[in-house]
Amino acid sequence: MIKLENVSKIYGQGSGAVHALKPVDLHVPKGSITGVIGTSGAGKSTLIRCVNLLERPSTGRVLVDEQDLTALSESGLRKARHDIGMIFQHFNLLSSRTVFANVALPLELMGITKRDIRDRVLPLLELTGLSDKAASYPAELSGGQKQRVAIARALASRPKVLLCDEATSALDPQTTASILTLLRDINTQLGLTILLITHEMEVVKTICDQVALIANGELVETAEVGDFFTAPRTQLGRTFLNDYLELEPPRNLLERLLEAPGERTHPIVRLAFRGDTASAPIISRLSREFDIEVSILEARIEDIQGRTLGLMIAELMGPTAITQDVLTFLNKLDLHVEVLGHVQRND
């Protein structure tokens, strides 16, 4: 539904030029929720603003519903923007207008008659749970309510795509959850394609189907969310995930961690179990079949959109030859194994 082809953005020129976006390719499938995640200054806002050409890319093409936006005239672009809704971190509601009039604004801009506007705004207020706030001014609303108004406004022109620039970053966790639920509902009920950017893994985990990791203006990794949470493919992906899951070996172990196995070392592994591959039977199987001990250093269960993900950091306590066999065995199972390093045996 959205395709970025070789899109880059350079701010300024000469020695002061900032390469905010290196040439990027991104495909957001129809009906999906795709999240772009990255740290501050990574180029997330630049990326999403290039999609509706609030920022004109320095190179590349932007296709929304197979239409190349970069090739359009000013008026053609304005028309195309009716198909692209956008919501912002700081809501950007007009303080001079009531909730109703804010939602009506895009329809006024399109020249829709007053009666038709009413017929379209009221169901949207219903959908976003704002029916009783129609006559309120934004100043009288909470942050979550303001973002609901912004969502209703973005949906008014019946867009095919919704862009969300840090839509929940100004909200507390509970309100964030309710806004994310609303976005998910809109996605399934209206079949709306959503591209959102965020710096919070929680947002990606809760509603995204696909995730793209951005750093220094480059898309480092793009993956299905389930795959990303079990087995990120890049070092940066792992760092991001571990920071979020806070699943690192204990500090005292980290200090002793060696990169290469030695004469008398044990491997430290991180295991990620998907679905209902239960962890306990595997551990006991290892003890039984290989006659080694498995010391569990960290373990937790995560719920990724209804699917279970088990995570564990463990020390495989056995002779090197045997632990090698264990790793081979583990790799054959439907789980993700990563050797973090090795520690000296302390026997």
Partner: protein, 217 residues
């Protein structure tokens, strides 16, 4: 105080109001347009035209730096051309208006400056034209600041109109100069000043009330 003097003062109130109202309305109409132009033609704004913007800005600065008395005298030929005379209340409206236009323009530009850039962006993302952004976003969102600017303009015009008395117009300023100052009538001086204070106070209160009503922030 003679009844003739009371009548003179009474009439002068209406002369002042006439000069202030007419020059105020015209200068606000033109000044708002100019203020919007100053804002939207800035670099990176919705109708960015940096060259035009610099020219407008210089014109406005020149207009604002000429003292009113000098301006009134300097444009006498123009005033004469426009209203057929350079003395009297109607003639005074010309320099008053010209002095107020750049003043209004800067106040409006300042009010627009207070509008969050995010709102313009949101409107652009909805496919708004520059004209729609001006009429549906910028002006309504800045209306508190605009009303404040209009209030300041009317108050400034009351002061200017008193100076217009020095160059042949009527109004409270003329009474104060001709009777209060030239003929040492302190009572007349006191009364005209008091009336002007009341006028300024009234305008300020009305302005404050309207700003409060306009703001939903």
């Amino acid at each position: 105080m003679s009844s003739a003097m009371i009548e003179r003062i009474w009439n002068s109130i209406f002369e002042t109001l006439y000069m202030v109202a007419v020059s105020g309305l015209i200068s606000i109409a033109i000044g708002v347009a100019l203020g919007v132009a100053l804002y939207v033609t800035r670099p990176r704004q919705i109708l960015a035209m940096p060259a035009l913007n610099s020219v407008l800005s210089i014109i406005v600065n020149v207009g604002r730096s000429v003292p009113f008395i000098i301006l009134a005298l300097a444009i006498v030929p123009f005033t004469k051309l426009l209203v057929g005379s350079f003395i009297g209340n109607t003639a005074a409206i010309v320099p008053l208006t010209i002095a107020a236009i750049p003043f209004v323009a800067r106040l409006i530009e300042g009010a627009l400056n207070e509008v969050q850039p995010g709102l313009i962006e949101a409107a652009q993302s909805m496919g708004a034209t520059p004209r729609q952004i001006i009429t549906k976003v910028l002006l309504p969102e800045a209306r508190g600041g605009i009303i404040t600017g209009v209030t300041i303009t009317f108050i400034a015009l009351i002061g200017y109109s008193a100076m217009a008395g020095a160059v042949g117009a009527g109004g409270l300023g003329a009474i104060a100069i001709n009777y209060g100052y030239n003929r040492y009538n302190s009572l007349v001086m006191l009364i005209t000043v008091a009336i002007m204070v009341v006028l300024v106070q009234g305008i300020q209160m009305l302005g404050d009330y309207l700003v409060r009503r306009a703001n939903h922030k």
